[in-house]
Amino acid sequence: MNYSTAVQLDKVWKRFGAVEAVRGVSLHVPAGCIYGLLGPNGAGKTTIIRMIMSIFFADEGQVSVLDGQDAAAVKDRLGYLPEEKGLYKKMKVGELMTYFARLKGIEDREARRRADELLQRYGLGEWRERRCEALSKGMGQKVQLLITLIHEPDLVILDEPFSGLDPVNRDLMRDVILQMRRDGKTVIFSTHIMEQAEQVCDYVALINKGKKVLDGSLSEVRSSGGRAAVLDYDGDGHLLRDLPGVAKINDSGKQAELLLQEDADAQQVLAAILGKVQIRRFDLREPSLHEIFIRAVGGADDA
């Protein structure tokens, strides 16, 4: 790794007419980590990503990548997979990948070699000479991901990478993200589904209504939320209400997250549940990101 800070945002503002899309966001993304940009739809994640990619420019504040450089100057070292993506339908798959590699400054022969190799490795070898319009949706998604990686970027930014993927590609996406970290690269991805972030992220930032609500390493963020228990059960969830020592319950029907009061005794809580529903699992842990996010937003929402 030849840099220590992947991305740095300092009090960045972005306005579109009367709409304030990003309001004074500061972020620090250390090198070599998987960084999750979390928040509901419309929170400003895509705008932040586009500013990091120098597709948009901040109205105020500083955006820099790879140790303080201007993103426009180091575009070739960045990989970007937008949420809305597509391929040139009439181009051949191999040609298309070569073209994008060359746009990233890879020399022609090397670009061809890499396109071949990647297509082979991901089982699309026989598609090289076929037109993109012939690809199935899943294969198209794979090719888009390969395009993001073909120039071996130091920093990859994925906007909602899991949305719309089939289970096979979802696993592939996760493997790629983890492999990138093993290779010492940095991955930033945005998502509005907290569970995805919890599974892979080293660091997260929670964004809501254009503002940063919380950020830090995953464990820091989670431990800031107190204690909780996860309960897998069968039976009538209504019976779980008003348990002693439980401040709040997020019930999903078969699973419930119990947020414990500060002085609550987990054993007493468990005892109180016994007999009300059939318990399959009772797990003490930190609250979910979802819960933390809801709490943080509830407290910090000044809009």
């Binding site: 579109f16 709409v19 899309a21 739809n41 419309g42 895509t46 575009k75 937008p82 040139y88 339908k89």
Partner: protein
């Protein structure tokens, strides 16, 4: 710059693979070849129109026949004279009676030629002819008459002349008690194209003269025949009133203004066919220019929208800046347009090398103009600048639209001005340095077409310079403006903005949210 080149190259290759590109390349030579050959083939294929004449006057038809012969002889002799002057091999191929008459025809004054033809066709006495010509007439006439009688239709076709004989064929009136009814029936059955009835008292008045036909659009035959009957009747009237033929001829003579032009030294010069071609060539160039500019900038708009609708755009923008993308696209399409136009130029070049031989050298004048650097260079410059201007406007529009349908509304204000130079083409050609043409030249949207159109003038140097400067500035502004619109518009989804809003983008520095209503 390297990235612009890559984008341009992809754009070019992408375009070369479309059908439209090859249609564009082939269409022009095809149109040229077709427009050169089809009318000839059609005329050759056109069957002679059958007509019949019911002559109640007793003399008119016979006289008219002589005049028809005179007209055809006139065409034959004029063609012979042309070949004699050109000294071409075509002269040698002419039959000897025609050559004999042709030699005499060339040797006499223009005024006498009509008289010679009239005399040869035995229409009138050889009143105007000089004695030494007149003595030759009987022998020449006999030779021609003999040739005319036995010459086959194929041989006449080979001469490639516009003869009445091959256009209209007279059919005899059937010998029945009611010939008019029979003729009407023949018209109905399609055996006759038309028939004429000549009134009995035609010298006095045209009562009873009729033209009967089912075809009301093709009036050629009617006019052609009526003109000749009028000539005959006029001759009769002159004769009856005892007016001297020379006096009558003089009375009927129209006044002819000979076309001359003035050269640089102020002396008068005859007008050659090159001059005529020079007047018309700009229009051909304007039309080509228009087609080339229109099709290429239109294609650019289409594929910008396609790029947007297939969502390739954002991936592209992570590698190139919006301006690089736009510049690359415009350059790639320009290259593809130049390829098409260049191919046309090569086609024209080859055509000019081959065709004049086929046409007997008389159409080479147009070639001289096409290779004229003034025309070629200005065509190239006006193509590039005009294309850049329209391409930036259309690429800007393409960038804010998500479908061609949306684009059509926004394009209207650009397409209408694009039509104007075509509509004004004839007007500008007629008066290349008139106020209208000059004003039009200074409107950048029209400059390329109108200045090309005026090339025959040609416009004064200062106008060339001024319009060129204006054009370059407008292209610069258009590309810059388009760059701003493109930057915002290209990521825009949903309803396209109003024109007013687009203009605001060009002026303001403020960011505009391209993905209104979507995840920001």
């Amino acid at each position: 710059m390297r990235k612009i080149g890559l984008v341009a190259w992809r754009e070019y290759m992408d375009n070369v693979r479309t059908k439209g590109f090859w249609i564009g390349i082939l269409a022009f030579p095809l149109i040229i070849v077709l427009s050169a050959t089809v009318p000839i083939l059609l005329t050759k294929a056109k069957e002679a129109r059958n007509y019949a004449v019911l002559d109640h006057s007793g003399f008119a038809l016979a006289e008219v026949e002589k005049r028809i012969l005179a007209d055809d002889l006139g065409v034959v002799l004029e063609a012979a004279a042309q070949r004699y002057r050109d000294g071409s091999q075509a002269w040698d191929r002419l039959p000897s009676p025609v050559k004999a008459a042709g030699r005499v025809y060339v040797s006499i004054a223009e005024a006498e030629r009509q008289a010679l033809i009239a005399a040869l066709a035995v229409v009138e006495a050889d009143a105007y002819l000089a004695d030494e010509v007149a003595v030759q007439v009987p022998e020449l006439a006999a030779g021609l008459a003999e040739w005319w009688r036995q010459v086959s239709a194929e041989e006449l076709d080979a001469l490639d002349l516009e003869l009445s004989r091959s256009r209209y064929a007279r059919v005899a009136v059937p010998d029945v008690p009611d010939p008019q009814a029979a003729l009407s029936q023949m018209v109905n059955d399609g055996e006759l194209f038309a028939y004429f009835v000549i009134g009995a008292d035609i010298v006095e008045r045209d009562e009873g003269c009729k033209y009967v036909s089912l075809n009301l659009t093709d009036q050629d035959l009617r006019g052609w025949f009526a003109r000749r009957v009028s000539q005959v009747v006029r001759a009769r009237r002159i004769e009856r009133e005892g007016i001297d033929l020379k006096v009558a001829g003089w009375l009927q003579e129209s006044v002819l203004f000979k076309a001359r032009k003035v050269d640089k030294r102020g002396s008068q010069v005859e007008i050659s066919s090159v001059d005529t071609a020079r007047q018309w060539a700009p229009m051909v160039f304007v039309y080509l220019l228009w087609v080339a500019i229109f099709t290429n900038s239109q294609a650019l708009l289409t594929n910008t929208i396609e790029e947007k609708s297939t969502r390739v755009i954002e991936v592209l923008l992570s590698s190139v800046s919006p301006f690089e993308l736009m510049a690359g696209k415009i350059a790639g399409m320009a290259a593809s347009g130049l390829t098409v136009v260049g191919t046309w130029a090569i086609c024209i070049g080859i055509g000019l090398a081959v065709v004049p031989g086929m046409l007997g050298g008389k159409d080479a004048s147009f070639g001289g103009i096409i290779v004229d650097p003034l025309y070629l260079l200005s065509f190239l410059f006006y193509f590039l600048s005009g294309y850049l201007l329209y391409a930036s406007l259309l690429v800007g529009i393409g960038s804010v639209c998500n479908s061609l349908k949306e684009a059509q509304n926004l394009m209207l204000p650009i397409l209408i001005p694009l039509m104007l130079p075509l509509m004004a083409m004839v007007l500008v050609s007629q008066d290349p340095n008139g106020t209208f043409a000059r004003v039009m030249s200074f409107i950048p949207l029209f400059t390329p077409f109108v200045m090309m159109n005026r090339a025959a003038g040609p416009p004064p140097l200062w106008e060339y310079l001024a319009t060129t400067v204006l054009m370059v500035v407008s292209v610069y502004l258009a590309v810059r403006g388009a760059g701003k619109v493109f930057r915002i518009g290209i990521l825009m989804t949903g309803k396209p903005p109003r024109l007013r809003e687009i203009v605001r983008w060009m002026v303001l520095k403020e960011g505009v949210n391209p993905s209104e209503g979507e995840g920001v």
